[in-house]
C-alpha cells in the first residue's frame, strides 16, 4: 500500500482543515512546493495535492502552483479541487500532473463522467466523499441521496479505474479511519481504492493494512504527518 502525504492549498499556503470546514484551517507551511520537496526527501512515493480554493469556488484556482509542485519533485502527483469541466480535465492532462480527481460533476452529470473517462482514462480518479454512508458534493457542503457503495459500483461500471474514498466525518479529526465503511466499499467493487480520512497514528495504518484488501492501493495522510504523529519512513515500514 502506498502512502500519499496530502498537501492542501488555501490562499497559496499549505493547510489542513477539520472535517472539510474551510473556516477551520491550520496553516502548516507557507511554501507548498518546499513542503512537497520535503515529503519526497522523507521517502514519499507519491503525493496527493488538493486545491481547497478550487474546491470551494468550483473552478481551477491554484493549478499553476500544483504544476510547479509536480515539476519540482520526481514522484507522481495526484491533484484535485475545482476540476469541474472537460476543459479543466484537458488543461490538467496537458501538464505534469499524473492523476486528476473529480468529484461533484461525476455524480450530477453522467455525460461529463463518460467524457472524463474518455479523456483522462487511467489518470482519472473520482472522489467518493461520504458522510454517514451517503455521498456529499460541492466541497463536502451538500449531501446527496446516493449511498457511497452504490455510487462506487456505478463508477466502476462506467469505466472509472480509481476512486478516492473519504470519510468526511473523520477527516482532519485524528480519530481513526472508518474501517467498516472502507472495507465494505472495497468488497463491493474491484477497482482501485485510495482511502482517506482520519488516519491519526501508526496503529490506524496497521489496522488498515490488516484488512488485507488488495484493491485498497493507497492511503492519504494529512494532519497526522504534519503534527508529527509518525514519519513517512515509519508509515512505509508498515505499508510496504
Amino acid at each position: 500500500m502506498i502512502l500519499l502525504p496530502a498537501i492542501d492549498i488555501q490562499g497559496g499556503q499549505c493547510v489542513r482543515l477539520r472535517r472539510g470546514d474551510f473556516a477551520d484551517a491550520t496553516i502548516f507551511s507557507s511554501d507548498p512546493v518546499e513542503r512537497a520537496r520535503m515529503w519526497e526527501q522523507e521517502g514519499a512515493q507519491a503525493l496527493h495535492v488538493v486545491d481547497l480554493d478550487g474546491a470551494r469556488l468550483g473552478k481551477l484556482v491554484n493549478l499553476a502552483l500544483v504544476e510547479e509542485i509536480a515539476e519540482t519533485i520526481s514522484i507522481p502527483v495526484e491533484f484535485g479541487g475545482g476540476v469541474r469541466t472537460i476543459d479543466d480535465l484537458k488543461m490538467v492532462s496537458e501538464g505534469p500532473i499524473d492523476r486528476v480527481v473529480i468529484g461533484t460533476g461525476a455524480l450530477t452529470d453522467q455525460a461529463f463522467l463518460l467524457e472524463a473517462v474518455r479523456i483522462s482514462g487511467d489518470k482519472l480518479v473520482v472522489s467518493v466523499d461520504a458522510e454517514r454512508g451517503m455521498v456529499t458534493t460541492h466541497g463536502w457542503q451538500e449531501k446527496s441521496s446516493v449511498s457511497a457503495v452504490r455510487f462506487a459500483a456505478f463508477l466502476q461500471q462506467e469505466g472509472v479505474r480509481h476512486i478516492l474514498y473519504t470519510d468526511i466525518d473523520r477527516d482532519g479529526m485524528m480519530m481513526g479511519m472508518n474501517l467498516d465503511a472502507v472495507s465494505e466499499l472495497a468488497r463491493e467493487v474491484d477497482i482501485d481504492i485510495i482511502a482517506s480520512g482520519g488516519i491519526s497514528n501508526l496503529e490506524d495504518l496497521r489496522r488498515l493494512k490488516a484488512l488485507n484488501l488488495d484493491n485498497i492501493s493507497s492511503v492519504i495522510v494529512g494532519r497526522a504527518l504534519y503534527e508529527g504523529s509518525f514519519t513517512v519512513a515509519e508509515a512505509r515500514a508498515i505499508l510496504d
Binding site: 512515493q45 515539476e71 520526481s74 514522484i75 501538464g95 505534469p96 487511467d122 492501493s217
Partner: protein
C-alpha cells in the same frame, strides 16, 4: 505533453542541458538522445516518421550515440507491436511488443520491484529489488535474451529494462521514481 516536461525537469535536476525538440537536425547535433513518451505505439511511430525523426534516430543510434528510451520510448525500439493493430517500430532491437500476459489489472500502474539481470553502469547505485513507478499495458519481448537488463513481476514476469551497447530503455518512469530514478538519469547523463 506532461511526461516530456517531467523528463526535461528531472534531467535538468541531475545537471544535464536539455533541449526538447522535434527538429531532426537538432537531434542529429545532440550528444545524447532521450525518447520518452506516453500514448499509443502506432500514433507515436507515425509522428516520428512524419517529422523525419525515425530515420535520424536510427542512424544516430546505429552510429553509437547514447540513447535512453522511457516507457513508450522503450517499446518503439523494437520491430513491431500489436497495440491496436500491428505496427512497425524503429527496429533497433530484435523482438516485439505485446500486451502484458497477466491476470492482474491492466494497465499496470504504480510502484513495483525491479530485478537486475546484468551489470550496467546505468544502474550504478541502484540496489537489486528497488522499486520504480510504472504506467503501462504493453511490455517488450526481446528476441535476444542478452538485451534484458531488468525484469519485474506483475502476475507474469516481464522485461522492465533493456540494454545493448549505447542503447538503454526502461519501462518504468525514472523521472517519477524519486531519488533512484534520478540516479539512473544521472548515470545516463554523465
Amino acid at each position: 505533453m506532461g511526461n516530456l516536461r517531467s523528463v526535461e525537469k528531472a534531467l535538468e535536476k541531475v545537471g544535464a542541458t536539455v533541449s526538447v525538440s522535434r527538429d531532426p537536425d537538432e537531434v542529429r547535433r545532440a550528444e545524447r538522445i532521450v525518447l520518452p513518451g506516453v500514448g499509443a505505439f502506432g500514433d507515436a511511430m507515425a509522428n516520428l516518421e512524419k517529422r523525419g525523426l525515425a530515420g535520424v534516430i536510427r542512424e544516430e543510434v546505429e552510429a553509437g550515440k547514447p540513447f535512453l528510451g522511457i516507457c513508450l520510448g522503450l517499446d518503439l525500439l523494437f520491430e513491431e507491436s500489436d497495440e491496436h493493430g500491428l505496427h512497425e517500430g524503429l527496429g533497433l532491437l530484435p523482438g516485439r511488443v505485446e500486451l502484458l500476459p497477466t491476470d492482474l489489472k491492466i494497465p499496470h500502474i504504480g510502484w513495483n520491484q525491479v530485478s537486475i539481470r546484468k551489470q550496467s553502469p546505468l544502474l550504478a547505485g541502484v540496489p537489486d529489488g528497488s522499486s520504480f513507478y510504472f504506467v503501462h499495458s504493453y511490455a517488450v519481448v526481446p528476441r535476444d535474451e542478452s538485451d534484458i537488463l531488468c525484469q519485474t513481476e506483475y502476475g507474469c514476469t516481464f522485461v522492465s529494462a533493456v540494454e545493448r551497447g549505447n542503447i538503454a530503455a526502461f519501462q518504468f518512469h525514472p523521472e517519477k521514481s524519486s531519488s533512484l530514478g534520478l540516479t539512473i538519469l544521472k548515470n545516463f547523463a554523465s
